[in-house]
């Protein structure tokens, strides 16, 4: 249920950044790296609506964002798919995506010094 904390940040940020306009819809990106459980996240959002009345009628449109890495050492760009990690390591990355630098390596040169170009964690893509 660590998703609950992130869902709360999303609903609070949407309300804070919507200005005075009526909030109809917000786009939420799920970065592939963090592997957020969509079902739990949506459940948390529904529970939190009561605490944030301005978001009571907001539709949250959730979209997946593929993870893209770029190695700082050899410049190779690579996806998450194919990178080896244990179940525990995946869980640690789920909590703190930066743990990718501890457990994942560039497939070309094995460096942990890579950039997370896209698909890190939860972000808001639009509010309307």
């Amino acid at each position: 249920m660590h998703e609950w904390a992130l869902a709360e940040s999303v609903i609070k940020a949407v309300v804070e950044n919507a200005g005075n306009k009526k909030i109809k819809e917000a786009g939420v990106l799920f970065g592939e790296l963090q592997a957020i459980d969509k079902e739990i996240f949506v459940f948390a959002l529904e529970e939190l609506r009561g605490q944030y009345p301005r978001a009571a009628a907001c539709r949250f449109k959730i979209m997946d964002e593929p993870a893209v890495f770029r190695c700082k050492a050899c410049s190779r760009e690579f996806p998450l798919k194919g990178l080896k990690k244990t179940r525990d390591e995946a869980e640690f990355i789920h909590f703190i995506p930066e743990m990718a630098h501890t457990f994942l390596k560039c497939p070309e040169c094995k460096s942990p010094d890579f950039e997370l170009v896209a698909g890190r964690g939860v972000s808001i893509s639009y509010i309307k």
Partner: protein, 234 residues
């Protein structure tokens, strides 16, 4: 638009924390972590609801000083820090399996924001932050997000540490960050000016690391305990 939602919830996560004490000192190896851990142990022993957050990602060591093994946060609407020796304790080592965490500055910042956003500290009298050396992303993020943080500045009798300390104090003054006082670690000889607490160089300290009961009996811990009132922490 790509909006990071996490900062919006950090204030909420810290709202139950009465005081945030950032144990800082811009040189490495001057005893920040031992001071932060011992301070947390002393406050918890006095009955204060106390938290300890090891923010030195590259050199996380509070778990070694405390002898905290086999701990992991509980997932409950975020992460609840495990309680050890009466202290709610959070560290990156829970997620790194004690392996190296090779992060660039922006990644350190992201990891700190993530941990601040998801950690449920609950009600605390004191949250002690063990800061990394230097004025880097961790320090700047704490000034940005934990605006009520008060600095406990650590130094040593070395002219090198003292000089760097003066620069840090000038910055804190310009940022209007409250400084509780200066703690001089490994103190020997005559006291330097402006020091609130002198923690004697204690050869027995190393052997007490990892054992909170033994740590409490060291001259180091006793000196810090005696200085709490002067530092406004009693």
């Amino acid at each position: 638009m790509k909006l990071d939602p996490r900062p919006s919830v950090i204030e909420e996560r810290l709202k139950g924390v009465k005081r945030i004490i950032a144990v800082t000192g811009w040189k490495g190896g001057i005893g920040k972590s031992v001071t932060a851990c011992t301070l947390a142990l002393l406050l918890a022993k006095k009955g204060y609801r106390t938290g300890l957050f090891d923010l030195d990602f590259a050199g996380a060591s509070d778990h070694i000083i405390l002898g905290a093994k086999g701990l992991f946060p509980k997932e409950e609407k975020g992460l609840e820090p495990p309680v050890y020796e009466g202290i709610k304790f959070m560290s990156v080592v829970f997620f790194s399996e004690n392996r190296a965490v090779p992060l660039r500055g922006a990644d350190v910042s992201d990891a700190i924001i993530e941990m601040l956003a998801i950690t449920q500290w609950g009600e605390l009298d004191f949250l002690v932050l063990d800061m990394p050396p230097g004025i880097n992303d961790a320090a700047l993020d704490i000034m940005r997000f934990a605006r009520k943080a008060e600095v406990l500045a650590v130094t040593t009798p070395s002219i090198i540490a003292r000089d760097v300390l003066e620069r840090s104090l000038a910055l804190y003054r310009s940022l209007a960050t409250p400084v509780l006082g200066i703690v001089e670690n490994m103190a020997r000889g005559a006291a330097a000016g402006g020091v609130c607490a002198r923690l004697r160089f204690d050869p027995a300290l190393e052997a007490a690391l990892g054992r909170p009961a033994a740590l409490a009996k060291t001259a180091f811990s006793r000196d810090l305990a005696a200085a709490l009132k002067k530092l406004g922490l009693d």
